[in-house]
Structures are given as structure tokens and as C-alpha cells.
């Protein structure tokens, strides 16, 4: 408590002391925007896409903005230090792009009430902290459809990162839609306990292939599973977070792309105009936050058409990927016929739907 109060006062004292400096620095009227990344910008997945969003902000506003970023920031006290440093250096808006930055973001935001913070994938907000995330499960529905049609062994492998609601939603959504087009389909899930570790991800992919999987979905960020699938031959994969087009047309037959650029541009604009508000944004395919990468020619035309039709109906809001009747893994009822899942349940999803085997790691 004491520390917080002190830093609050310290920050204010500093801000006062710096007013001169800030004036000097801002006579060009640049808005400084900070980005805190959990991985290296070259990870080819999660952080890479956030950094593309940052570049889009630079391209959009030119010399009206200045963006700074720090990569590979561990989720803990280091994150708090990096955010504070950005705020002290005059950033007006800071994007913190990993779930583990949640408490640090809230802590730092308290000390800098005039700086706006945007935290990705979390659930805590404050007057100057908004959250944003993407409905990746919408993309998983499209993937599941393609995967269910493409598998010949009827075994689909899934590389999970951490057993958190976002990942579990993806597994459920993919399974429901694979099952819909192929009732014999079976999911094998390997938990890698990492977001980015090429060696572990490749091991996971090889394990799944040895167990007979001929389609692999991944919720980890590196291209290592793609390379493992390519080496194995007749195995299909999907790009994750980023398009991973270098593995097209095979093994990568489509992808889920995180497209943060429109959102980042919108929020930076809001800060420039003074219209920024703390909101919880959760956008999907419709607003363009989730993109479906090109479905390659390795996929038969009718499957492609089916997948695109599903994508369009999700985008228009006509169809919700979690529509009843659906039961939980233990056989208990979840959604009645025609009922759709509410965001609250989805946000904290910690159960498998009926048909999935195995337990969620505890």
C-alpha cells in the first residue's frame, strides 16, 4: 500500500518536474504510443502480429505518432518496470499484449491516471485501462470444418498452449464443427505449456503424427509444427496467429490471422481526439479482428465453399459457433436447442464439450 501511495506521489512530482521537458519534447505534437510484447517480434506468430499492428499505426499517422516497443518482457515485476518507464518517457497510450500483464497494467495505470492503457486478453479494467481480445473461436469453427473434411484417419491433433479459457474455447469450437461434418472424428490434445518454443512444439506435432493424426491444429505461435508436418508428408496444418503462408499450399491449408491493425489505429485516433474510453472489446471475424488466411488448392473446392459460407454466416452474425443443443463432457446439459452461449460463460470456459476425451490439466 505504502509503495503505491509513494509511487503515486513520486509520479506526480516527476510529472510536475517534467512539464518543462514534456513541452520541449511535444512541440512536434507527436503522440507517443508504447507496446509491451511477451515474445520476440520475430516469433512469426502472436508478437509478430502485434508488431505489424504497431507498424500499421506508424504508417497511418506518419509523423504524428511515435511508437516504442520492448520485446520479450517477462510477465511480472519486469513488465511493471517497462510500462512505468514508457509512461515516464511520455507515452500517452500503452498496449500491453499478454494476459500475464494484467495485474502489472492495473498497478501502473493507477500511478499514471493521464496515460491510457489497453490490455490484451484480460478481464480487469479501470478508468484508464481498457481490454481487447479477439474471438478466435470463430476462426476455430472454420478450421474445424475444414479439418473434419480433410482428415482420412479421422484423428485430428491439437497442440494446446496453456489450459486457459481462450485455448479451451478454441478446442471446443474446432471439435464441434469437425464433428458436425464428420461424426467419426476424434481429437488428440497435447499440452505444450508454452506459447512459443519451437522445439517443444515440434515434439508435440511429431507425437500427434505418430498417434495417427493427419490434421494438426495449433494454439502455439511458432512455425515448428508446420515444419514437422511438412517433413512427415501427408499431414495438414493451419497457420496460427500469423498467416504462415511460407508453408502453403501444403501442409498449411488455411490460417487464423490476428489482425490488430484496425483496432490499434482506432484507439490511437481516439487518444489523439480525446475521445478514448475504457471499454472491453471482443471482436471477431465480422469487424476484421480475426482473419481467415487463404484456403489453398489442397482443399477440395466444395469444402472450401462450405468453410467460406460458414465464415460469412459467422461474420454477419447469423450463426454463433456455440449454438445448442450442446452438452458438456460429463454429459450434463449446457445449451438447449437453438440457444447460444453468453459471453460470460465463454470468457471463463473451463470445460470440454461432450465427445472430447481426456481431462483439462489441473
Amino acid at each position: 500500500m505504502l509503495r503505491r501511495t509513494f509511487l503515486g506521489t513520486a509520479a506526480m512530482a516527476l510529472a510536475l518536474a517534467l512539464t518543462g521537458g514534456v513541452h520541449a519534447a511535444s512541440h512536434s505534437d507527436k503522440v507517443k504510443v508504447g507496446f509491451v510484447y511477451v515474445g520476440p517480434v520475430g516469433d512469426g506468430g502472436w508478437t509478430y502480429e502485434h508488431d505489424k499492428g504497431r507498424q500499421a499505426v506508424e504508417a497511418e499517422f506518419g509523423d504524428k505518432v511515435e511508437t516504442v516497443f520492448v520485446e520479450s518482457v517477462p510477465e511480472g515485476p519486469d513488465a511493471e518496470r517497462v510500462m512505468t518507464q514508457m509512461a515516464l518517457d511520455g507515452a500517452k497510450l500503452i498496449f500491453t499484449t499478454s494476459f500475464g500483464y494484467m495485474d502489472p497494467t492495473i498497478n501502473v495505470a493507477k500511478k499514471f491516471p493521464d496515460v491510457k492503457f489497453e490490455h490484451a486478453t484480460g478481464y480487469k479494467t479501470a478508468p484508464n485501462v481498457g481490454t481487447y481480445s479477439a474471438r478466435f473461436y470463430e476462426g476455430r469453427a472454420v478450421q474445424g470444418t475444414i479439418a473434419g473434411r480433410m482428415t482420412e484417419s479421422n484423428i485430428i491433433g491439437y497442440i494446446g498452449s496453456y489450459p486457459i479459457p481462450e485455448v479451451i474455447r478454441g478446442i471446443n469450437s474446432a471439435y464441434i464443427h469437425a464433428k458436425k461434418v464428420n461424426p467419426d472424428v476424434e481429437f488428440k490434445i497435447v499440452w505444450a505449456f508454452t506459447w512459443f518454443d519451437p522445439a517443444k512444439e515440434a515434439d508435440a506435432a511429431r507425437t500427434l503424427i505418430e498417434q495417427g493424426a493427419d490434421v494438426i491444429l495449433q494454439h502455439t505461435d511458432s512455425t515448428a509444427p508446420q515444419a514437422a508436418a511438412e517433413a512427415a508428408g501427408n499431414v495438414y496444418t493451419f497457420g496460427q496467429a500469423s498467416d504462415m503462408a511460407e508453408f502453403a499450399p501444403k501442409p498449411r491449408i488455411s490460417s487464423i490471422i490476428d489482425n490488430w491493425a484496425p483496432y490499434y489505429i482506432k484507439q490511437v485516433k481516439a487518444v489523439m481526439d480525446g475521445t478514448w474510453k475504457s471499454e472491453m472489446t471482443w471482436d471477431g471475424i465480422g469487424p476484421g479482428m480475426v482473419g481467415i488466411g487463404e484456403i489453398t488448392d489442397a482443399v477440395p473446392a466444395e469444402v472450401k465453399a462450405e468453410a467460406l459460407a460458414l465464415k460469412d454466416s459467422i461474420a454477419s452474425g447469423a450463426y454463433h459457433p456455440f449454438t445448442g443443443p450442446l452438452k458438456k463432457q460429463d454429459g450434463s446439459d449446457w445449451l438447449a436447442e437453438g440457444e447460444t452461449a453468453d459471453d460470460r460463460t465463454l470468457a471463463g470456459m473451463n470445460f470440454y464439450v461432450e465427445g472430447l476425451t481426456g481431462d483439462i490439466p489441473q
Binding site: R3, L14, V68, E71, E75, D78, Q85, Y162, F193
Partner: protein, 360 residues
Amino acid sequence: MLKLEKRRQPSRAWAWGAPVVAVIATILAGGLLFALDGTDPVAVIRTIFWDPLFGQHASFYRPQLLVKAAPLVLIAIGLSLGFRAGIWNIGAEGQYIIGALTGAGCALAFYPMEGWFIFPLMVICGALGGCLWAMIPAALKVVFGTNEILVSLMLVYVAEKILASMSLGLLKNPEGYGFPGSRNLAQYPSAHNAEIVAGTGMHWGVAAALIAVIFAYVLLNRHLLGFQIRLTGEAPRAARFAGVVPARLVVFCLGASGALAGLAGMFEVAGPSGQISIDFNVGYGFTAIIVAFLGRLHPVGILLAGLLMALTYVGGGISQSAQGLPAATIQMFQGMLLFFLLAFDVLTNYRLRLTRREVA
């Protein structure tokens, strides 16, 4: 031609001079690299080594240096005891994790009760957890003669799995909407490792690190056990004649370093970090090995080395956003530091001699 010639006595001047020369060489070599990369080397070096101490926002960064250095020093002090005796505990990272888990677990067992005894109990649990984890390689070494380097290192990965399991299961915050990670101890006053003097960065872990430095100094210089540790490292045969029981020394050195690493983890989870999460550990246990050697395995040296290492972390973070340097730069910097140190260490035992090439 240049020739290395063994000194009759290790040079005292070089023993203390090597770290300083290594730091200077790292700065020069790093600067050269930045220059080749097209960044202004003077600005980068200034950002890393000067700004956190005397720059515009130094009043924020100086306490951060203590926060960052405390676990490094605490762990490195423990490691140095073993390293001096030739007992190699490479698994401090694992002991750090287990100490954090037992410390936080103890606190969460009492949640939401408040009481003055909770924090001291956490300290004991943290030290005990780290110590017990280190007892595994110690016991295996004493009983079966296994290699403590391999066993302690492998146990790091086991500890990481336990950490993941705890974050997702037993210690998971019941009010966390299903997300992994424990309750935030910073919001639990009885368990919070708050700053002793607000705004200084001085939390109990920093105090413990300073106490450990003094304790280790006294132990090594004034105590029979310290003498035995040094003797075993320098002359194992003589040590046996002097009545040193190797098994007892193995247990003491691994136990002490495990307990200190456990303490570091406990203070970190109760203070700066606040919660157990899957990615709680950030490599302090490994970086502390560099700190121990950079500090010449001497308590005061380790204190200085820990602060220097903290400076590279804090300054490195600033240079990333200020000059757009990649994160790998700072790892490279730390790597170069150890590399140059080992290189210049040669001069402690050898001297360079310019000789004429002899005709065969």
C-alpha cells in the same frame, strides 16, 4: 611471440582486476557492435549504465535496481559457498521456484485470515522448501555418488512442471475466472512483502540479501566451517587430512544455497511479483551463477556484481524503447561479460611473456 607462463603465485591484482577489466572490455566490444549496427554506441552505453543511476528518471530506477539485484545476490551468495568447495549447485532456479511455491502456499493456506505471524512463517516455509529441494541432489550425491550438477539441473524442469500444475490447480485463484495464477499476495496485507521504507525498493528480500552477504563474509573468514569450505575447494586432500567430512559439507553447501534460493523465490512472489503464475521464474537462478563468478565468489564482490547485473537488465529495458535495440542485445551483453571475465581470469594464474621464436 606471445607466450603464457604460469605464475608461481596467483596474482592478487589480477584476481580483483579481471572483473573490472571484463566490464570495460564488454562496454567497448558492445559499443563496437552497436556502431556496426548503425546505432550511436555512446548513447546506448549511456542509456544502459548511466541513465538508471543518474538520468532523468533515476529516482524510479534506483529502487528498481535493488528489486532486481536482491534475488540475484541472495541466490549467488548461496551458490558461492558450494562453488568454493567444488560443489556445483546448478539448479538454483528450481529451488527458487519451490521456495516461492511453499512460501505462497503457506500464505494462501491462511487466506483470508490476517495475523502478524503469517509473513515470518512464509519466510520459514520458503527457506525450507528451497532447502528440501536441494536436499534431493545432496542426498543422491552422498548416498549414491551421483553428479549434483546433472541432478540439480534436471530438477529445475521438474520444478517448472510443479509450478505449472500449481498455477492451474491447487493454488489457482478461485476468483480468477478460470485463468491460471494464484491470488495476488500484494492484496493480502499479512502476506505482502512490502517495502520497509516506502519508495526505496528496500523490501525484506533486499534486507535478507544484505544479511546474507554479512553472514557469508563472517562464515568464510571467521568460522571453522568457512575454512573447511575454502580448504576443500583449494586442496581436497589436505582437507581430508584436516578432518573435513565431505558428506557433511555437501549437505551444508547444497542445503544453504537451496534455502537462500528458496528465500529469494518467496520474497519475490510475496512482493514484486505478487502471484504464482506459470511463467513466474525468469531465470534468476541461472543468472546468479554469472553473478557469483563475476563477484569472485566473494560476498562483497557478489553484492557489487548483482547490482551491476541488475543495471544491465534495467538499462537494457530502457535502451530497448529508447534506441529500439532488440531484447537479445542485453543477453548478449551479459554473455560477453562472463566470456571476458573468464578470458581475463587466465591472467590471474598466468602471465603474458614476449619471447623470441627459437630456431629448432
